[in-house]
């Protein structure tokens, strides 16, 4: 581990947070559909919204997806608003057409949007009604991905929270581990092998790869969050008797070890066995990181708020790669779920929550960080001003968790700097 990690540090647990209000340059929760529809392979996401919602999904995802997507938009039009058409009857018609077209679908999410929230279209009742009609073939659920209620990754939180009541009850009080948050399949498999070596099990994942195979939950369930943005899902699981295992997030060697260890300790695994089970993968990852560290050590980094992954990422980049944190912006700071992360963060970092994008750009330009992590709307304009950027959306679409992805994650930050150094045009 790095020298910095060895020093006792008070961290950022009680550090003041700059709270801003103004234009928020962030995606809404609908964007989560872009990865969720690939993760849950028998589910379809139907946004009930406007042309803007359809255009957002297409713009955020369209360029990347060539197969027919398992998502669509039911576009509300003037007739629906004027009451000339009954919204519910129209929705039933659209859903029927959709399910005829896609007989392979087993779960349909009706996803609420800003317009459907504002006109108070009750999608939970619609989901119940449609479920009654299409069960057992298709189960219909609903959640909101609207921009007035959710920011970017919170859409995944809302989706997973809507799945929790559907999870079967775990018979008895047998202890099991539930890993919560969408992960790449290769990462899930790595974690399964590590948990097996740690004597932790049975291990299940939410979301499951198939909506029809949801994991059971009950008082014996202990859960680890794999993502930092799952506040509502955690609450829903706790309401079903499950207990959260507090831990930092599995980003980088340190985070992954702490995350695995937190579960292993609940299972009473001996420290020696923990060290054995994680030692070789951790050493391998540390060695791989050492090579990238030379390129990042001492470089400054600025985070615009985006996915709520900012704080765990900042912790990894500062402690394992020696980067110097300037401002670490997050759309929302969940103090409880991030307590372990905040304690590890160097107190020199400035935390900010929410956004006033123009003022934040002023601060960023004044600081001129070596690397700026930001969304797609800001990246090219900042590059044109001579700042080197890393688009944050890639951090959500790439397998970055666990030991064997630690170097990949570091590489994502090193590459823009390398490119900058390499180009002479």
């Amino acid at each position: 581990m790095t020298a910095a990690a060895a020093l006792p540090q008070p961290g950022c647990a009680d550090a003041p947070v700059l709270r801003e209000r103004g234009q928020r340059e962030v995606f809404c929760g609908l964007t989560g559909i872009v990865w969720l529809h690939r993760k849950i392979q028998d589910a379809f996401f139907l946004v009930v919204g406007s042309r803007t919602c359809a255009h957002l999904l297409q713009s955020a995802a369209g360029v990347m997806i060539f197969a027919e997507p398992r998502f669509a938009t039911a576009i509300i039009d003037e007739r629906d608003l004027a009451g000339l058409a009954d919204c519910n009857a129209e929705l039933d018609r659209v859903v029927t057409r959709l399910l005829e077209r896609r007989p392979d679908i087993r779960m349909l999410f009706l996803v609420g949007s800003c317009p459907s929230e504002v006109i108070k279209l009750d999608l939970s009742r619609a989901a119940q009604r449609l479920s009654q009609r299409f069960l057992p073939q298709v189960r219909v659920l609903n959640y909101s991905g609207s921009g007035i209620e959710t920011t970017f990754t919170q859409g995944e939180d809302a989706c997973l929270a809507s799945l929790v009541p559907e999870m079967p009850a775990e018979p008895g009080a047998a202890r099991s581990l539930l890993v919560v948050g969408a992960l790449a399949e290769v990462v899930e498999d790595q974690f399964l092998r590590l948990f097996a070596a740690l004597g932790v099990g049975p291990v299940r994942f939410l979301p499951s790869r198939r909506a029809t195979e949801l994991p059971p939950v009950g008082p014996g369930t202990r859960f680890l969050l794999a993502q930092p943005f799952l506040g509502d899902t955690a609450r829903a699981l706790e309401a079903r008797g499950a207990t959260r295992i507090a831990a930092p997030f599995p980003l980088g060697v340190e985070g992954t070890t702490a995350w695995l260890t937190a579960a292993a300790e609940v299972w009473g695994t001996a420290p020696v066995r923990i060290a054995e089970a994680t030692g070789s993968a951790a050493a391998r990852a540390t060695a791989a990181l050492a090579r990238i560290r030379q390129r990042l050590d001492g470089r400054s980094i600025f985070f615009f708020p985006d996915s709520q992954l900012e704080i765990p990422l900042a912790r990894f980049l500062s402690r394992e790669l020696g980067m110097r944190l300037t401002e670490v912006g997050t759309p929302y700071l969940h103090r409880q779920h991030l307590a372990e992360e905040l304690a590890l963060l160097p107190e020199t970092a400035t935390l900010s929550e929410g956004q006033h994008v123009d003022r934040q750009l002023d601060r960023c330009r004044a600081l001129r960080p070596d690397l700026t992590v930001c969304g797609l709307g800001l990246a090219n304009p900042l590059e044109a001003e001579g700042l080197t950027t890393k688009w944050s959306i890639e951090l959500v679409f790439t397998p970055i968790q666990g030991y064997d992805q630690a170097a990949d994650l570091a590489e994502l930050f090193a590459r823009p700097l390398l490119r900058h150094a390499k180009l002479t045009v």
């Binding site: 103004g22 234009q23 928020r24 340059e25 962030v26 995606f27 809404c28 609908l30 964007t31 406007s50 042309r51 803007t52 359809a54 255009h55 957002l56 713009s59 369209g62 360029v63 669509a72 938009t73 576009i75 039009d77 003037e78 629906d80 129209e90 929705l91 018609r93 959709l98 800003c114 317009p115 929230e117 504002v118 609207s146 921009g147 007035i148 209620e149 920011t151 399949e185 290769v186 498999d189 993968a281 391998r284 060695a287 791989a288 090579r291 990238i292 123009d358 969304g375 797609l376 709307g377 800001l378 990246a379 090219n380 304009p381 590059e383 044109a384 064997d404 170097a407 990949d408 590489e411």
Partner: protein, 528 residues
């Protein structure tokens, strides 16, 4: 309620953004929830613009709805004025803000800013992107040029040197960037001066002087038709009706502007290659190729003429998502003896392409997807745009060079002349049947549904692909089944590299059987 998988046009406020972003000195304050800011990436990523669009969003959230969203809007307007000092401001609402009825126009007016503030009423549940662009441009032109409208009955005085405006090019337009210099070149050859190009590159002050030109060139009727009609009514400026896409249309355009300017029609066609290329014997194979055309009205109508008259194709289908121009598209379709498809339902277009089985599709990025699935060659002729529609090189659609570009982009996806003959002669060659892509386009995989399987194509003798991978002289290497499975989880486009690296790693260390551990050891070793 309409089921949409993909949409051809965004909501109308996107059209307003295309106008604002194209101009200088304009700022657009959009009452909109958080999330609507995604639209910035259209300009910064797809078009690779180096500046943020001049748009400020109020990004209200649920907690603001109970409170005072109107005040949020007022503050945003004042903030924008202080920070950006625009010459003119556009104010309006996106779909959600339209529902909460805060009246952005009225609110902005009460602030008494010392600049023109143009309220935009863009009904999001009724209209779409191009309509929004057109309405925004029209409102801006009226607001800026309106005060200079002469009294009724005033006689127009002609400029000594004929002068015109070029109207229509916007941000995020399909090749607008490259069309403008081509059209300027045509006009310059006739001795006509370009007064203002708008919206692209114009300021509100420039718009105020639009009336000083003798006539208007309407490049994109979808965007500029309405503004040009108002300019005709108010300033007595005539406007062009021909869009110079293709050789014939370019010649017609030259005739039309020459007449409007009162100058003799001349063009130096020295750089025009399409007519000769199309007459050269190699192009004989293009004769009668069945082509399906879909796009915005302007590009689709123009493409049909070029396809039929200048390349010798047969138009088997013509359609557009521009409902506002349905009449024009129907008239054009009638000329080609087909029925127009006017729809914005992507599934309907897909069904028609599948039914018509054309040999070439000229469409948008959506039709490119459909054509790819059906194994039909395709060239893109119209928005909605994709990052590939902003090539680094000059690639116009209009004027003389535009015609050359059309020849290249439409012909290249097709089989080349002799290749097509060989294909006809040796239909049973398993590597060379009509299910394969043209050789110069690499190996695509046309889908099963598209064409019938090549007649009597024998199953190919599969070269033993999974033989032990042994470099000459090196010991044999084997993959453990777990490792092989793990390898398959790696995305296909980097899998080959992962395989090679792991094998090299294993060989260098004398490892006989590759395990999962070897795979990751190698990954860590090679990660940089």
């Amino acid at each position: 309620m309409q089921l949409a998988l993909w949409t051809y046009e965004g909501p109308p406020h996107i059209g307003a953004m295309r106008v604002a972003t194209a101009m200088e000195g304009v700022h657009y304050v959009l009452h909109a929830p958080q999330g609507d800011t995604y639209a910035d990436l259209l300009f910064t990523m797809i078009e690779r613009r180096a500046k943020r669009p001049p748009v400020t969003y109020t990004t209200f959230q649920a907690r603001d709805l109970g409170g005072d969203t109107a005040n949020l809007f007022r503050e945003a307007v004042l903030d924008v004025y202080e920070r950006f000092r625009p010459q003119a401001m556009l104010v309006g609402a996106s779909c959600t803000a339209e529902l909460i009825q805060d009246d952005p126009g009225g609110l902005a007016k009460t602030l008494g800013l010392p600049i023109p503030v143009v309220p935009l009423e863009l009904p999001a549940y009724q209209r779409k992107e191009n309509w929004g662009a057109s309405e925004t441009f029209y409102q801006l032109v009226r607001a800026c040029a309106g005060p200079h409208v002469p009294k009724p009955g005033t006689l127009r005085t002609k400029n000594a040197v004929p002068r015109c405006n070029i109207l229509g090019p916007t941000a995020l337009g399909f090749r607008h960037r490259d069309d403008v210099p081509e059209v300027e070149r045509l006009l310059a050859a006739l001795g006509i001066e370009t007064h203002v190009i708008a919206p692209m590159g114009a300021t509100p002050a420039d718009l105020a002087t639009l009336g000083e030109a003798d006539f208007n060139v309407v490049l994109y009727p979808e965007v500029a038709g309405q503004a040009a009609a108002w300019l005709r009514r108010s300033f007595g400026q005539p406007c062009t009706t021909v869009v110079p896409i293709g050789v014939g249309a370019t010649r017609d355009f030259v005739q039309e502007v020459a007449k409007l300017a009162g100058v003799p029609a001349t063009t130096a066609e020295g750089t025009l290659r399409l007519p000769w290329y199309s007459r050269s014997v190699d192009s004989t194979y293009l004769t009668g190729k069945r082509v399906f055309i879909f796009g915005d009205a302007t590009h689709a109508i123009a493409a049909a003429r070029v396809a039929e008259k200048e390349l010798g194709f047969t138009v088997v289908g013509l359609g557009s998502y521009s409902r506002e121009f349905g009449r024009e598209v129907r008239a054009a379709a009638a000329l080609h003896g087909v029925e127009a498809l006017i729809t914005d339902d992507y599934l309907e277009v897909e069904a028609q392409i599948a039914a018509l089985q054309p040999e070439l599709v000229l469409g948008t990025q959506m039709e490119r997807h459909v054509a790819k699935r059906l194994g039909v060659p395709c060239a893109v002729i119209s928005a909605p745009v994709h990052v590939q529609d902003f090539p680094a090189r000059h690639s116009p659609q209009m004027g003389l060079e535009g015609a050359n570009v059309l020849f290249d982009t439409w012909v290249h996806p097709l089989m080349m002349g002799l290749e097509e003959h060989l294909l006809g002669m040796f239909r049973e060659d398993f590597e060379f049947n009509d299910g394969v892509q043209p050789s110069h386009l690499g190996h695509g995989t046309p889908s099963q549904s598209g064409r019938e399987a090549a007649p009597a194509a024998q199953p190919m003798p599969v070269p033993a692909a999974e033989t032990p991978h042994s470099a000459a002289g090196a010991p044999l290497l084997a993959w453990g089944s777990d490792a092989e499975k793990e390898l398959k989880k790696i995305p296909f486009f980097v899998r080959g590299k992962a395989r090679r690296n792991t094998e090299r790693f294993a060989q260098e260390r004398g490892i006989g059987t590759i395990t999962i551990e070897t795979l990751y050891d190698a990954k860590a070793h090679f990660s940089r």
